[in-house]
């Protein structure tokens, strides 16, 4: 029994970081008022660039390259949405489709259609003390990114609610005109946040290709970017909420896998497909039952034009 629980936690610790990073990115962007459904594409760019980078440079540097690649797509999104006031969802979907196609194309052109050659994976840290304690030892044996994913939501929480920049971000997402009249550059804040979201989504992608696996695989991130957006909504646009939602999704996924191997009898009663659908159905249910929907920033999705009131 303990083993089963431990396996569950271990899997969740391995699977969650990518989701956590990407959903934090989504929170950042949307808090500043820019809808970001392009997370999926930014993650893909990050995963690809990190893996390709790690073929040449040390893997941690590859991760940085992945973040930069995500940031580049973030910058495209920001430019279209902020400078040109494009429809934000459309721009995001365009970024997804471009990243999907370009990723596949480059992968085929440079390597094989299914994936890059393996790279040196990020080092896994085994925590000396934890390692001995049952259950808790599931937290040992992950890459640094897992521990970063545990710390970052808190840092983001502080950043959004306890720093001057965070205040400006929230103001830009709630009432950009008010921020602008106080001398805050709404465009500047939004650029920073959307590019930052790209950076984080890129980190999420890089996590997939350098920590979760040891290569870029043609499916990556296989819908995880959309899950990240869902986690953000589920978590009501807060870093801690997004973290909790990511953890929920990861545990759900781990549970499904764990059930399949240790309790095959369950699958006779509840088909695998139902277990697969469960986290999504639950998410919909919770979103549908939420009473207020005041959680979304008031100016979310509205391009800001200083000359309209």
């Amino acid at each position: 029994m303990l083993e089963v629980l431990e396996a569950l936690l271990f899997l969740a610790f391995d699977y969650a970081p990518a989701l956590v990073f990407a959903s934090l990115g989504a929170v950042l962007s949307e808090r500043a008022g820019v809808v970001n459904v392009g997370v999926e594409g930014m993650m893909r760019a990050g995963a690809f660039a990190a893996a390709v980078g790690a073929l040449v440079v040390p893997t941690p540097l590859g991760v940085v390259l992945g973040m930069l690649a995500g940031a580049c797509l973030g910058a495209v999104h920001a430019y279209l949405c902020i400078r040109w006031r494009s429809e934000q969802v459309v721009s995001g979907m365009a970024i997804n489709l471009v990243a999907l196609a370009a990723g596949t194309f480059l992968l085929e052109a440079l390597f094989a259609p299914t994936g890059t050659p393996p790279i040196a994976q990020l080092e896994r840290w085994s925590l000396p003390l934890l390692k001995e304690v049952p259950i808790v030892r599931a937290a040992s044996g992950h890459s640094a990114l897992t521990y970063l994913a545990l710390a970052l939501p808190l840092a983001f929480h502080l950043a959004l609610w306890r720093t001057a920049f965070g205040l400006r971000v929230r103001a830009a997402g709630e009432k950009p005109a008010a921020a602008e009249t106080l001398g805050v550059s709404v465009s500047g804040v939004r650029y920073a946040c959307v590019v930052g979201a790209g950076l984080l989504a890129g980190l999420g992608g890089a996590t997939l290709s350098t920590s979760t696996l040891d290569r870029f695989e043609h499916h990556m991130p296989a819908g995880l970017g959309f899950m990240a957006v869902a986690a953000m909504v589920f978590g009501r646009w807060t870093p801690l909420g997004a973290f909790a939602a990511s953890a929920f999704f990861s545990l759900g996924n781990a549970l499904r896998i764990g059930v399949a191997s240790s309790a095959p009898a369950v699958l006779q009663v509840v088909p695998q497909g139902f277990l697969l659908a469960l986290p999504y159905a639950l998410t919909l249910l919770v979103l549908g039952l939420q009473r207020r929907r005041g959680a979304a920033p008031a100016a979310l999705g509205v391009p800001y034009d200083p000359e309209t009131r």
């Binding site: 001057a164 205040l167 400006r168 009432k175 602008e180 106080l182 000359e307």
Partner: protein, 489 residues
């Protein structure tokens, strides 16, 4: 806005007056760096400057209290005030210091504000104070107040002016925009009058009177011909009756409080009031856009419990709303499509579920001719028409329905003189036809000129009802400002 020049010196107390839409706010927004001027220059301390954003203006010591709230509802008072120049400690926002600083500013200027409460839980009066504190907190040398007293109580206004006077004697310049001429004259040293984007006069305050200012503001364009042309009043059965009707605004505040009024056939009923006193909600209530929360609503003597726009239309209610781009037209659609809107399911606009494009075209062309809509192209996208012509499309469409009750809000806003006269004539014609007209306008002269009866709204309540015979501009003005509670006859 066109060729306006203005000079402000330290210690000045300048007032800016003019009709709704005269361009007062626009001018100040240019000064504050929010709008970019097409031509002309701004100079500070004798040097020409370029204000790319409010940041530049703030750096020059300009502070502005906007006509519409510029507050982030989900943040606290202190956060709103310090936004943009936040005190930090070791990289973190120092909220305690922020609160202390803001509290100090409040105390210095005599505003009692609880700085840790969220804006959304404050009354509008307190929100207005936060706006002023925001500007003062930045040590503005030049303070622009755009209709700051519109939502303040008289005592609060007095306090505000006391502070403003102190500031000006300490060398600050204050620019006040207001529609309340009395406070303008008591506060300002100079008064500039704007009309249709131009500055038409600038006079020292002590050398002018409210009457003179009013005349300058309105000009003499508003033709009173409709006065002469109107027939005697012969109202019939009531088409609209409200009995102790209550409703809320979109954000949940009470907008109308136990309003009782009626409109009869062949009668124009005007609603007078300062913007934001419930006129908007009244119009929406009657046209089914806003649910009734308490009281009764009767259309043509029939009590209606759940009015929706479609039922309202079927019962003969037509509506010329204030915000036409939001409520009345579909910008990307063509003029003819917009003309069919609301009656798209009826001949001549459609037959048996299919759009009758010939019938629609013919009807559109005839309305375009009647109302002189330009360009006279029924297929032009509505958004490409000028604002005035868009308004004409809406008015023509609504009058074309042969309504029993016509609800018109600001029907002539943005129209030129000829079109204003046209619309007024058509409203009078509707009245002759036996239609009841509910006219909401911020332009008191228009209300006075067209109405057979006037209700005055203040704070969501009817504060007065006057028959045409007893129209008294001054008394209405007092009622509009809540300075007098009418005794119902």
């Amino acid at each position: 806005m066109d060729g306006v020049s203005l000079e402000i010196a330290p210690g000045d107390r300048l007032a800016l007056v003019g009709e709704n839409g005269a361009g007062k706010s626009s001018l100040m927004n240019v000064l504050y760096g929010l709008y970019q001027p097409d031509r002309g220059t701004i100079s500070a301390d004798g040097r020409p400057v370029r204000l790319r954003s409010p940041k530049d203006a703030i750096a020059l010591g300009i502070g502005m209290v906007h006509q519409h709230f510029m507050l982030v509802p989900s943040l606290t008072v202190a956060e709103n005030v310090v936004l943009g120049r936040e005190p930090t400690r070791r990289g973190l926002l120092d909220l305690d210091r922020a609160c202390a600083e803001v509290e100090q500013t409040c105390r210095r200027f005599g505003f009692g504000l609880e700085v840790r409460t969220r804006i959304e839980s404050l009354t509008v009066g307190s929100q207005q104070k936060v706006e002023i504190v925001k500007a003062l907190h930045r040590g503005a040398k030049t303070l622009i107040l755009d209709e700051p007293t519109a939502v303040l109580t008289p005592q609060e206004s007095d306090e505000l002016f006391k502070v403003a006077r102190e500031l000006s004697s300490a060398g600050h310049a204050v620019v006040l925009i207001s529609h309340k001429l009395k406070e303008v004259l008591s506060f300002a040293t100079r008064v500039a009058v704007m009309r249709r984007g131009k500055k038409v006069a600038e006079v020292p305050a002590e050398k002018t009177t409210p009457e003179e200012l009013a005349a300058l503001t309105v000009g003499s364009e508003l033709s009173r011909e409709t006065n002469g042309a109107r027939g005697p009043k012969k109202p019939g059965a009531p088409v609209l009756e409200l009995e102790r009707a209550t409703c809320r605004t979109a954000d949940g505040r009470k907008a109308l409080l136990e309003v009782t009024l009626s409109v009869r056939e062949g009668e124009v009923v005007g609603i007078a009031g300062v913007d934001g006193n419930g006129q908007q909600e009244l119009a929406e209530l009657v046209t089914g856009l806003r649910p009734l929360e308490g009281g009764k609503l009767r259309l043509c003597a029939e009590e209606v419990r759940r009015l929706d726009p479609s039922l309202a239309r079927r019962m003969g209610v037509a509506h010329v709303p204030e915000d036409r781009l939001l409520w009345a037209v579909v910008g990307p659609m063509s003029v003819e499509e917009n003309i069919s809107l609301g009656r798209q399911h009826l001949p001549p606009f459609s037959h048996g579920g299919l759009v009758d494009s010939r019938g629609r075209r013919q009807r559109a062309c005839s309305l375009i001719r009647d109302f002189d809509i330009r360009p006279p192209d029924p297929q032009a996208a509505l958004s490409r028409l000028s604002g005035g012509n868009q308004q004409k499309v809406v008015v023509s469409r609504e009058l074309d329905c042969a309504p029993r009750l016509l609800v018109v809000v600001q029907p002539t806003r943005g129209l030129d003189v000829a079109s204003v006269a046209l619309v007024h004539r058509r409203l009078a014609k509707e009245r002759e036809r036996g239609c009841g007209v509910l006219l909401v306008s911020l332009d008191l002269d228009e209300v006075l000129a067209l109405s057979d009866r006037i209700y005055v709204l203040y704070g969501g309540r009817v504060t007065g009802e006057l028959e045409r015979a007893s129209f008294d501009e001054r008394r209405i003005g007092r009622l509009m400002l809540g300075a007098e509670e009418a005794t119902f006859a």
